[in-house]
């Protein structure tokens, strides 16, 4: 396989320029760049929705938006951030880095790669366009529970269903491509157990994607036929079952959560050893822990729905299975800590994001354990405590790892160092404001504030004021990120090939910026 790719790579001397370059590109680096810019655009759009939500929740009463619009905003915020920002960002990083890390000349299926990206802007635009449709956009939360989304959903729900299908197709194609690349195109000597952890975590994530995106497609298709073709999958009056929707949705939804965190584990496992100048403490246990988490993700779905009235035996099973996830997760956190222990650490920006990830993700993991304890979950379920929990794992988890990864690999991509002082400002502003934003939500939830409400009782105001201030600060800080990245692309100190003193791996053996075609001749890995 690798020899065939070597001879082939020589033919790509001319590249089209302008719009054609991007439209027709089959180059993994170009496609990675497209994914990352798309992701960042969606991050800002989803963030803008969040800013309106935080403004509305600044004080009790209705100030800026009516409840229906508020529900559209929370729905769109969730969908845009998950399917538009976080997932494409990881695919973008995989596109750039996986071939470079395994010594492959490109992705295994370059044309499909082009297609899986170019579906995204259309699916995303269709999803966003629902806001302007008659009857408003989807307003039933990103989880789209029946019958609120079926019998009671606005007409635009059909466009939501179609765009979910398109996003799913894009994800599945991306995943197939990543698996094919990793399994077939590794450089000679790069055995599976020598692969960098980012590659490993993505390999496992790709299998998760292939397994569960069709489940989501099935769920929304049943929604569609319930809406228009007379079926009653989720309608009790027709012999169906509204809770079935939740089971199917979360059978997708829980692995989806790990789809958004496993590659983040991978990124952090690359960054920490580099800046601790010390090998990862337990490489093979990290691989096994990732696989264990992926396996467990399939058998814990109903912990998202403890209040639907399952039998006690079902609740007990899902509680035991859920808390078990704490073990492989703890193994990971211990491993990162042991890697830092007696290292020779420096704290360039990527390391700061990685350390913040470990600490804040762990806090999210702790609240996850609390949520797994069923009797207590009866009080936490559907409150701001849950909102706090999943934003700790998704924002200070997934998003922090993505940003850390961008700072880590940016010099390799554009050949320039970013401005370290500004980047540190970006980090500290984000790391502090994100806690001001999400930490008080734990208290609001425990005190009794449900999630997804447009207006609230006065006793929750103090927490909401603090959260909103943190939210505005966190949102504004990300504009600084945009500025830093553009500045680094346009110029700056020349990056060396290795970029970071402690960096190890194939991607650091090629020049910075990475040439348009790399590893035309496969490197030898010892």
């Amino acid at each position: 396989m690798t020899t065939a790719a070597t001879t082939h790579a020589g033919h790509h001397e001319e590249h089209p320029t302008g719009i054609k370059r991007w439209l027709f590109t089959t180059n993994h680096k170009d496609i990675g760049t497209l994914y990352l810019w798309f992701s960042f655009t969606m991050f800002l759009i989803g963030g803008a929705f969040a800013m309106i939500i935080r403004a509305e929740l600044f004080e009790p009463g209705l100030q800026f938006v009516q409840p229906i619009t508020f529900n559209e905003l929370t729905t769109m915020h969730g969908l845009v951030m998950i399917f538009g920002a976080v997932m494409p960002a990881f695919v973008g990083l995989a596109n750039w880095q996986v071939p470079l890390m395994i010594g492959a000349p490109d992705m295994a299926l370059p044309r499909m790669n082009n297609w899986s990206f170019w579906i995204l802007p259309f699916a995303g635009a269709m999803l966003l366009s629902t806001i302007f449709m008659q009857g408003g956009g989807p307003d039933f939360g990103w989880t789209a529970y029946a019958p609120l989304s079926t019998k009671y959903g606005p007409p635009s729900t059909d466009f939501f269903i179609f765009s979910v299908h398109m996003l799913g197709i894009s994800s599945i194609m991306g995943a197939i491509n990543i698996i094919a690349t990793i399994l077939n195109m590794r450089a000679p000597g790069m055995t599976l157990m020598k692969m960098p952890l980012f590659v490993w975590t993505w390999l496992i994530t790709a299998f998760l994607l292939i397994a569960v995106m069709p489940v989501l497609a099935g769920a929304v298709t049943m929604m569609l036929t319930d809406r228009h073709f007379g079926t009653s999958f989720f309608d009790a009056a027709g012999g169906g079952d509204p809770v079935l929707y939740q089971h199917v949705f979360w059978f997708f939804g829980h692995p989806e959560v790990y789809i958004m965190i496993l590659p983040a584990f991978g990124i952090v496992s690359q960054i920490i050893p580099t800046f601790a100048r010390k090998p990862l403490f337990g490489y093979s246990s990290m691989v096994y822990a990732t696989a264990a988490i992926a396996f467990l993700s399939f058998i814990v779905w109903a912990h998202h729905m403890f209040t639907v009235g399952m039998p006690a035996a079902g609740e007990l099973y899902f509680m035991y299975a859920t808390v078990l996830i704490a073990i492989p997760t703890a193994v990971k956190v211990f491993n990162w800590t042991a890697t830092m222990w007696r290292g020779s650490m420096t704290f360039e920006t990527p390391m700061l994001w990685a350390i913040a990830f470990v600490i804040l993700f762990t806090i999210g993991g702790f609240t996850g354990l609390m949520l797994g304890v069923v009797p207590a979950d009866f009080q936490y379920q559907d409150t701001y405590f849950v909102v706090a929990h999943f934003h700790y794992v998704l924002v200070t988890g997934a998003v922090f790892a993505i940003i850390g990864g961008v700072y880590y690999w940016l010099p390799k991509w554009c050949g320039h160092m970013y401005n370290e002082t500004l980047a540190k400002w970006h980090f500290w502003l984000s790391a502090i404001s994100v806690n001001v934003l999400f930490f008080p939500m734990h208290f609001a939830g425990l005190a009794g504030m449900p999630r997804r409400i447009a207006d609230y009782a006065p006793q929750f105001q103090d927490f909401n004021v603090v959260s909103s201030i943190g939210g505005f600060a966190f949102g504004a800080s990300q504009l600084l990120f945009l500025f830093i990245v553009i500045k680094a692309i346009r110029g700056g100190a020349k990056a060396t090939d290795q970029v970071w003193e402690g960096a190890k791996g194939l991607e650091w053996t090629i020049p910075s910026p990475a040439p348009y075609h790399t590893f035309a001749t496969a490197p030898e890995v010892k």
Binding site: G309, A376, T421, W425, L446
Partner: protein, 397 residues
């Protein structure tokens, strides 16, 4: 470019914020309530046990990490050790979390099994979720009523000062006796709701086609507030729950009074009323039951909830437009028009299938529906002059 260290600037800001907010936190509720039932108290202690376990674990792990960050840095001349892979260490740090999890699972299992034991109740209350109100039914006592948000719209729209119990107050609270095992059966009439009162330690989804069970034995008289916890549409934030727990004697008194009230309401439906009387009652009932969607000014919400004011333009999905035209409530140039009384009553009583328009036949009595329809046909300049009596509604049922 700027050279000020971000660390110093931001730490100063953080301290200032913490100090400023410290005084405001004095009497704020920030933890799960202990509650007033044995189950809520057990849940609370379980919550605190797990909280302290994760706090200690956090201090341990973060402590090691911070020690390492301070001492094992290159700027202090630290030289990286190259150790990695130790099976012993890995086994130990797998077993410790496992032991902790078992320690958590044991009390959690005990509490859960008690929570799920809804057998032998002293009293049963059936709770039905509606968009956006709760219906309480005491089958043994023969009492049934709806519980609506009682916060005035002006407070929500910031036109009036907000009450202390803003959004957590209702017209008819759920009244329960203390010291009795009360079983709740929850279900829904439309979408999924969730009945949640933190002080009772109960959150149970109300699902159409399902009957879920929960129970509580309230230990002391008082008023306990909660609200719907499952997104159920635009009124999700506006369907609170108020539980008033009374001593057994006072509860019996309330049951008697409630029965009398329901009998009086039934008798009132047997009489005839003048247009002015119906308009006055109609306005009140319209605001309570219809204005959430059709708005107090009868102008509806574009694209979703049709206006009731004659001559007002409206456009929505083709099926909704067809329904409105077929029923005679819309002219060919898409303006609202008051159609036949017969159809008007039919819509209010039975709703419109496939839309958000509910069937009010079970929710409202003849007099309430008569007053609402009379009001709708004459308010906002509609002035059809039609007067609908309770007997007309009875005939249309």
């Amino acid at each position: 470019m700027s050279v000020i260290s971000p660390k110093k600037a931001l730490l100063a800001l953080l301290w200032a914020t913490l100090l400023a907010s410290g005084s405001a936190l004095a009497d704020l509720q920030y933890n799960m309530p202990v509650g007033v039932t044995p189950m809520s108290q057990q849940i609370h202690s379980l919550h605190m046990i797990v909280f302290w376990i994760v706090t200690v674990a956090g201090i341990g792990v973060f402590g090691v990490m911070i020690y390492s960050i301070i001492n094992h840095r290159k700027s202090k001349g630290a030289v990286a050790a190259q150790f990695h892979e130790s099976t012993t260490v890995e086994i130990i740090w797998t077993l410790i979390p496992f032991a902790i999890l078992v320690a958590i699972a044991v009390p959690a299992t005990k509490t859960l099994l008690q929570i799920e034991d809804t057998s032998n109740p002293d009293l049963t209350v059936k709770i039905t979720g509606w968009q956006w109100k709760w219906e309480y039914d005491y089958p043994k006592q023969g009492i049934r009523f709806f519980s609506n948000l009682s916060t005035p719209q002006d407070e929500i729209d910031n036109k009036a000062k907000k009450d202390k119990h803003y959004l957590r107050e209702v017209d008819n609270p759920l009244v329960l006796p203390v010291g009795k095992k009360v079983r709740f059966l929850t279900t829904s009439h439309d979408v999924i709701h969730s009945w949640w009162v933190p002080d009772l330690g109960i959150k149970k989804d109300a699902i159409p086609g399902y009957i879920n069970k929960a129970w509580a034995k309230i230990e002391k008289p008082g008023t306990y507030r909660g609200q719907c916890a499952e997104l159920c549409g635009k009124g999700h934030a506006f369907m609170p729950i108020v539980v008033v727990a009374k001593t057994e004697k006072n509860f019996e008194k309330w049951v008697a009074a409630q029965k009398q009230k329901e009998a009086a309401a039934a008798a009132a439906s047997g009489k005839s009323y003048s247009k002015d009387e119906l308009m006055a009652m109609g306005k009140k009932n319209f605001v309570a039951h219809c204005a959430a969607c059709h708005q107090a000014n009868g102008e509806g919400i574009p694209g979703t909830f049709p206006p009731l004011r004659q001559g007002h333009s409206f456009s929505a999905s083709p099926t909704m437009m067809k329904d409105l035209k077929d029923l005679g409530f819309m002219t060919d140039d898409n303006k609202i028009h008051m159609g036949p009384i017969k159809n008007h009553l039919h819509i209010v009583l039975h709703g419109i299938e496939g839309t958000a328009m509910q069937a009010f036949a079970q929710q409202l009595n003849d007099l309430e529906i008569a007053s609402i329809v009379t009001y709708e046909r004459n308010a906002w300049g509609n002035n059809t002059g039609d007067v609908i009596q309770p007997s007309d509604v009875k005939a249309a049922r």
